[in-house]
Amino acid sequence: MWLWFAKLGSPRWFYELSDKWLPWLYVSMLILMSIGLFWALLIVPEDYQQGQTIRIMYIHVPVASISLACFPLMAVAGTITLVWKMKLADMVAQSVAPIGAWFTGLALATGAIWGDQIWGTWWAWDARLTSLLIQFFLFIGVIALRSAIDSPDAAAKACAVLAIVGAINVPIIKYSVDWWNTLHQPASNFSMDPVAPNPPEVWVPLLVMISAVYVFFAIALILRTRNEILQRERRSQWVIDLVAREKNV
């Protein structure tokens, strides 16, 4: 177990292993995504309240739910960086930040588009949208901090500290925003909660889409991490060999 852990910390080992993973991930994403999109766009019946706009949910909910996982992931990677000084963990942490910002940004945009239909306005200070917005700012803060510090080692540790502080704060922010919002106005009639009372023909395709987007997240993360590995290890022999092997780029 510990050997495996130590091995996984070696960037080269991860790079070579991910070479084997990537084709499988691509295939499963393709399959899941085509099933999910086909189902969501063509088969899911019209909602009695939302009509065809229920199809927006199949994008918004997976993206939003995965955007919430990014900060904890970054904090875990940060903890590993601080405690075990594992290089790979920091490369992952660095790659998660922009992806998390992208996911949060897309969740906000699709939420706004959905909001125009549900609330009749593009932006409402809805609890969920507001906490997503603050989370977006937190990601921007981490990215800004990373780019501001010149020394990679100091940047890694500083971002790790910020990620941990942020991850402790995210639930507090979420809680306080929920609390602020529910007391401001009576509980909203058109809840964005999609799953609970709905029949399986609505939530099964949602599960398919969530897993498809999760696989996509894994691919995006691995691709960025691999680039980071190459960039940081560019002076080591195995990367030089790899560059030499690579034909026609």
């Binding site: 691999r226 030499a244 780029v249």
Partner: protein, 70 residues
């Protein structure tokens, strides 16, 4: 449960009419998001490989020059 909801392509593209733009905007954004996040790392990788190859070639050239001078 598995019946298609639309009988023709134009009906599908129309999406019930009221919120056509909203629905397709979301799916378009999603497509942009997916393709950007898959293509951007590929571009970075290609750029990196080119750069490193150029550097390796230059180093080799330098090495051979110094050899001939000797």
């Amino acid at each position: 449960m598995f019946a298609l909801q639309f009988s023709s392509l134009s009906e599908f593209l129309h999406m019930g009419g009221v919120y056509t733009f909203h629905i397709w905007a979301v799916y378009l954004l999603f497509a942009v998001f997916i393709s950007y996040n898959l293509l951007q790392p590929k571009m970075v990788r290609r750029h990196f490989l080119r750069e490193q190859k150029r550097r390796a070639a230059r180093d080799e050239e330098l090495a051979s020059k110094t050899n001939t001078q000797k």
